[in-house]
Subunit: 324 residues, 5 copies
């Protein structure tokens, strides 16, 4: 689906243009064209490939989708794949945006994402000074927008971890430990999806400002370095998260052992409280002819009292050593 | 076994040629020869070595088989070893394809694989424009086909992991935990076989498009970069799989502990249900002369009622705390 | 909040200058201006950006705060972000200092830290010989001060680890093992915060003395190498700490198992001390007509004596094998 | 001990020469000398050092032995240390071979190995075409022989691992789990010895064919690349082995837990089978005056029948849930 | 404390010289001065700094001590920090030696070590040929001596590990497992201290013979490569040790579980031996009127015999299955 197709000159919007006119504007040196597609059909992609003269391998990647993040040079143009990561109802959703950038065009293809990039266009158009630098700046603005969306996702994962931590250290074992384990496992999985979005990009963005910079990014290197820095920040946070999740799993496992330990002690304490009276009762159940206690008037209540006294003593002792 | 032996000129098939004529066609600058062998005898290999003038070390590698994936330059020709990974009845089967590529010949030697490469030849012959670029493009087409076969294998492993995950989080411990452990162990092993097929190749393919590119690949670098990108994708998925398998093993271990914990509690609860009536019975089995309860008309049913009441109370309590 | 705004010439303090005069002094080649801000408002930052002609991306970073440590070049000036790590009541507090350095100015922006940098100014002013070398030396002096503050933090963490180690190896399991686990988990977390402050800086500082050195640091490379060396030292200590914390967690887990083991044995020993007399009592509670012991005058005390004797024997045996 | 001392010319054996004549032959440009020592005395080494004019540091290394594998250049000659790994009665034996190679000599010093290198000499002499290329080829032939001996060792370790795996997944816990653990620990240790033989060599051999190649290896680079490739193969197999051993240890640990779990359940089942009849017997051992069952003619057999029935029911139930 | 202060010319000892004369000798091109300090006061260091014209940052490092190992260039002179590792009564003691080397001087500052370097001086003076090459050779001789002292330390740690291994695989669990755990933890810690001494040095020494070699080391590169090789050997051994300690910890943990398992089984067996007679006694303690066995003459001894027989049978069965 075509979302937008706009031509710009000198940082100012010339207006929407029909798809067929794209190649005319692309050939005017002072113009650039910015086209946005959303979940396009193969035919729409093919049309764009012809208007912009895109490389068949890049177009094939965009058609298939499910690429890993990357930035590839095809001659003087760039083909970038970025993952758009969103949290929807506690689940991570990974969409994809494929960007084709040339000297005077930019084509973004959005796939499987709810949230669009209209705000990028609005912001870019409000800064004609920067927009004047051309397609490279729009490319930066799109990437910046996508990368900035990683931060709330990372924060959400960190909040999730903290909630699990609290449960681990305060909660009871059992069902809860099982849930914690599952939650940590899923958190690990979500973290992996975010890392897969971020890490391949780091090296790729590095090449946009250091070393031999592609033609289209010249003059905006400092902006791409800024994106690089944001990516490193996300990556560092994700590394920290991964480490803490791993440790939290170990801690949870320890807590299960500790809980097992506590249960064993409690059981043993209760068992003792029952076993000792049973033993005493057994003794007075013996059939010896000559057992003087049996004939005492208060023998029976006395024996019960002894049982109760011993149990009370044990109870206190167990309480004090923390077994009960 | 000789599968095919075909000469091409200007991207068009000249037709099958006899083995003995290979060296004639190889010496014509405008031709190239594409030969496919399958599980060849040493004699067949030797014959090819002479027709194509192959390096003895490369031929020895092809004869022995069981090489690690690699791409080696011998003068202006290349020798590549790739693993063909197939899933057969839940087991990973690793075959091998050795490819000798020169300026105007390509020789593929397929070993221990069920599935052939006829489709590559058909597709290549249907694109004479690309086939015209010569042996380098055929080399790409073969590699592309092999690498594309990795994806369904990786997907199969991921599906297998998901099935085990479900069993871990929902199933009962015991026999099932043992099976999960074994399944995870085998999954790890399968993953290792795929990684051994993929990882050595990544660096090797990198050299086909970046830095000093071998003569035979010049003009098709972008295609090899595409393969490189696919390999990275497989590698990333495999890394993720490896991490999750490791974690799943830990989780499974935790689940075993949790199940042990649950069993201990249940046992203790049942023991209590038996031990308390035993204690009461013991008390009324004592032989004190003066035990008024013994003379009550309803002493016996009352004592049974007390036992039943206590057990009912305990039962409810255990149910409520989740021990039963 | 403006803390200081001082102009220097030839290593000597010219005196405080009004904010508006900054740009005048900055344009005099023989002067340099040293300004310190603390938790500035966006307006204050904007004002400084204009006086010093700072790059908008750097200013934006300083306004947002929460950057990862880094040193970036913008033309001939540098923008550095450092984390100030302090221990406050057992918690790690991470503040931030952003430093803008040019040929003849230095602007430090301190955020979320208690402790200021007045002492750096005092020390620098007392060494006019070194201060004469200009903004680069002040930059070094600030970094040196911040990096030196890492050492007491690392030492505090190491002391904390030692305290936990003692508890692990000497203490009883149970509540204490749970506390140890939590303490180790938190120590891990604190360590991560310190490492996040230190590690990105290592590579950044490396670039200030090796390879292409920024203009502003020329002549003071050996000083920056000294900082680099300190950072490596902190990093090595932190790596050691991380390893030991991981191991300590494992050890703690083992100790929990061992404690479980000890408890099981103790319980079993006590159970035996009760079960054996119960069995004997059971035997003499049988109703056989012909049980000669029952008629012995001292049958009853003898049976009690046997019970006591067996228990005493068991007690000693358990004591000797360490079960009690 | 001197094993061989032979001079060669144009790829043909001139014949054995006395030790004293070595330096004469070494100085003839068209000749080369190949000397093999075995566990030499310091005096023998010293003599060789003088005949061949070897570097004192290299000679000291050869005298001390117990070096790590390496290849060092001393001017135009090379000094190589390789580990010879053999399996003797299930134990890994690590011998050492030190090789001094110059333009026209090769001296091999074999230490602590059973198996000699006579076959290398025989094979080399049977290929005069290759032997003609001089000392570099002999150096290759020796290394190739040593590296090829790693494969059966690796295979033996893999077979050992498979045997342990079978025991882990099928065997009973207890003594066997302890043996598995010990076997895995020793396997880990053996694997480490092989890796220590292989890994330092990889980088060293890489320098013999890539980058600035030592004079003595020029013309045989492809042969050294072949060795490099074999080393990578060994290394990859060893990495796989290491990973699987680590995992197998974890699995074994899980199996111990599972077995503990199973034992606990069995015990509990048997305890229940004893406890329930005991409780019933206790009830009918109570001394209430009014217990009608006691007066029934078939009260006693009935009570026994009830006990037996309950136990039979429990037995079946436990069998069905897999506790027995 | 000044230990030695000697001037050398042409590899021969000129004799001890007073501290004040150092700068005179240093200025004579054909001489070099070798000074050894031990735990110097700040004043002594300051004096030396002036005589040798040392860089203030290096002197500050030497004054503070507790540096990480490193080798830094200050102009044409070197400043090296090495850790001297000694085993004293089972504990690792880490001392420090700071070495300042210039074209014609060497100053060694020894701190917190028992063992001096007199033997290095004796050996160096006995080899005037090598000593003639100047300060670089003395620098090598000192480093060589320090690095050679690492080997016995590593060997001592390996012996310690072997002793623990024996205890793990043969010993009983309980107190011993706790001790093993502690011993392994401490071994880990000691290993870390050695690694901290060795690893930073590896890269530093590499720069003394490869790439741009400092002036003072030219002509002795092969000697520094020899040290590099020794360091790699220590490092490899330490890596192996670290891996084995980690594994040994896991094995120890498994052994604890196994021992728990064995204890549980033994307890259960003993419990059964008591519970079964108790049940039988309970049955014959029932008060049914019609229990024919009670009236048998040998009923009582028969019942005891049955109890004994069942226990004997169980005993044998438990023995055979290894539970007792």
């Amino acid at each position: 689906m075509l979302v937008n197709c706009v031509a710009y000159q000198d940082g100012k919007r010339l207006g929407d243009i029909p798809k067929e006119a794209i190649s005319d504007y692309v050939n005017r040196p002072e113009c650039f064209v910015w086209v946005a597609l959303k979940d396009p059909t193969p035919e729409e992609l093919e049309e764009m490939a012809q208007e912009f003269d895109l490389h068949p391998l890049a177009v094939e990647d965009a058609r298939h989708g499910h690429q890993r993040p990357k930035i590839e040079e095809y001659g003087s143009s760039l083909f970038a794949v970025l993952h758009v990561v969103e949290v929807r109802k506690g689940e991570i959703n990974v969409g994809e945006i494929d960007i084709f950038v040339g000297r005077n065009y930019i084509l973004s293809v959005r796939q499987r994402t709810e949230h669009g990039f209209g705000e990028v266009r609005v912001r870019a158009e409000s800064e004609p000074e920067l927009l004047k630098t051309g397609a490279g700046f729009v490319f930066y603005a799109l990437m910046d927008n996508i990368v900035d969306r990683y931060f709330p996702v990372v924060d959400a994962l960190e909040v999730e971890l903290e909630a699990i931590e609290d449960k681990i250290f305060e909660g009871e074992a059992g069902a809860s430990a099982r849930d914690n384990m599952k939650a940590l496992y899923e958190l690990k999985h979500k973290g992996m999806m975010v890392r897969h979005a971020v890490e391949p990009l780091i090296e790729a963005v590095h090449k946009l400002y250091g070393g031999r910079v592609p033609q289209v990014c010249i003059g905006t290197q400092e902006y791409f370095r800024d994106i690089y820095d944001h990516l490193l920040r996300v990556s560092q946070q994700m590394d920290g998260l991964r480490d803490m999740v791993t440790i939290a799993m170990q801690v949870n496992l320890s807590m299960i052992s500790l809980s097992e330990n506590a249960v064993t002690k409690r059981l043993a304490a209760y068992a003792a409280l029952v076993a000792v009276p049973t033993m005493i009762a057994g003794i007075y159940g013996m059939n010896f002819q000559n057992m003087p206690e049996l004939k005492w008037t208060y023998g029976y209540p006395l024996s019960l009292a002894v049982m109760a006294a011993i149990d009370a003593y044990l109870w206190l002792k167990f309480k004090r050593t923390g077994w009960l």
